[in-house]
């Protein structure tokens, strides 16, 4: 659902232009159906969407159910993610909120945010983790040395949420989604496939989220023999914890997008004003990148079942 601005033609209208006009009409109708890569519309008013397009009435504590980008440059972010990932957007009339989708599937939302207090112009991705009881989880956050940034409150259509800073300073949202969490499904391209907490102390972080969310933690060994700490609940692995290897970088949650080709995506990221934060050598299957405003996220290529 988007509105296309059709500029006035300099050419006189005449019978010979009818096919052109009909073609324009056809293109317009196609645009309404959601063609990836189309220029974003900045004039649509739309409600905040639920995390699941259809009510599931099933909640999956521990599942990462949503991702929000808070950015001081929403229009720039829309342009960046449209160009790099072919995401499509609907944007609020005030141009302070947008929701992104790829091939009809919701990806997340963008919110305009100016942090004048800190004078920062960096964007930031925030994940939302499903919890059974937001208020109880928030209380546990405080007991475990974390901080409540936004006290539990209800967001129409989205559900009850709280924004927290964990004991190490990483930000995330805890959400009890209205209508239920999304159904389990294999990750799809240009959508979120995983989330990682970069932590100074993975063991303590696992204990923190174990108490707040109910996660069980398990160190797994992948097919190459590498060890990795996984958080899971309800029989499902939901996120990973990585020991932060860099000095001067604070602990953070980082959502990870599934891409078909990391190298090609890195080129696109740079071509559109983003930057490569980290990428392994050779033919990387994983990289950390930043968008045009410094919001960091990961990309990973993987054959998904």
């Amino acid at each position: 659902m988007s509105r296309v601005v059709i500029r006035a033609s300099k050419h006189p209208i005449g019978g010979r232009c009818l096919p052109v006009l009909l073609m324009l009409a056809a293109l317009f109708v196609a645009g309404c159906e959601g063609t990836p890569g189309e220029q974003p519309d900045l004039n649509i008013t739309r409600p905040v969407s639920p995390v699941s397009p259809l009510p599931t009435e099933t909640w999956r504590p521990g599942m990462v159910v949503w991702a929000d980008l808070v950015t001081p440059d929403l229009a720039g972010a829309v342009e960046f993610y449209s160009a790099v990932f072919d995401w499509r957007f609907v944007i609020s009339e005030d141009q302070d909120y947008a929701e992104a989708s790829y091939l009809g599937e919701m990806v997340g939302s963008f919110a305009l945010y100016h942090d004048d207090a800190e004078g920062s112009d960096e964007g930031r991705w925030l994940i939302s983790i499903s919890v059974s009881n937001v208020d109880a989880a928030a209380a546990e956050v405080v007991r475990r040395g974390g901080e409540i940034i936004v006290a539990p409150e209800d967001l129409p259509n989205r559900g009850r949420y709280t924004l927290i800073r964990d004991a190490e300073g990483a930000l995330c949202m805890l959400l009890r989604a209205k209508g239920g969490d999304p159904a389990e499904q294999a990750p799809s391209r240009h959508n979120w496939m995983w989330a990682e907490l970069f932590s100074r102390n993975p063991g303590q972080a696992a204990a923190f989220y174990g108490a707040v969310v109910g996660y069980r933690s398990r160190q797994v060994v992948d097919k190459d023999g590498a060890k990795y700490l996984v958080l899971g609940l309800g029989g499902k692995a939901r996120a990973g914890v990585v020991a932060l290897p860099w000095e001067g970088v604070d602990p953070n949650w980082v959502p990870c997008l599934l891409v078909a080709d990391v190298i090609e995506t890195l080129r696109k990221v740079q071509d559109h004003g983003g930057s490569v934060v980290f990428a392994a050598g050779g033919d990387p299957e994983y990289a950390l990148v930043a968008d045009q405003n410094g919001a960091v996220f990961a990309i990973q290529e993987r054959e998904m079942e």
Binding site: E196, A226, G234, V249, V276
Partner: protein, 97 residues
């Protein structure tokens, strides 16, 4: 321009306007309640150097020449941790019940 042509154009323009109006649906709720901070400062940097690359993993030893990466100041003798969703080679992650 004949009267017939004019009528045809007006009909098409009306059709276009109808299409426009049908594509503008979406309700009139505005995200006034959608806020993250409410005056509470939570944004800002990710740390002293944010996520800007700091020294110094041997990243990208074989990187394509057109990928622009920051200079590496010095290597760090810390093994690189595994990052990204683990590939369990077809197996699952184990029991999280």
């Amino acid at each position: 321009m004949t009267v017939r042509t004019t009528v045809a154009w007006l009909t098409l323009l009306t059709l276009l306007l109808l299409l426009c109006s049908s594509c503008e649906s979406g309700g009139n709720y505005r995200n006034a309640n959608y806020r993250f901070g409410g005056g509470v400062s939570f944004g800002g940097t990710y740390g002293g150097y944010a996520w800007r690359y700091r020294p110094g993993y041997p990243v990208y030893p074989g990187r394509p020449p057109d990928i622009d990466l920051p200079d590496i100041d010095e290597p760090i003798a810390v093994p690189l941790p595994s990052m990204g969703m683990p590939d369990m080679g077809g197996g699952d992650f184990g029991d999280f019940d």
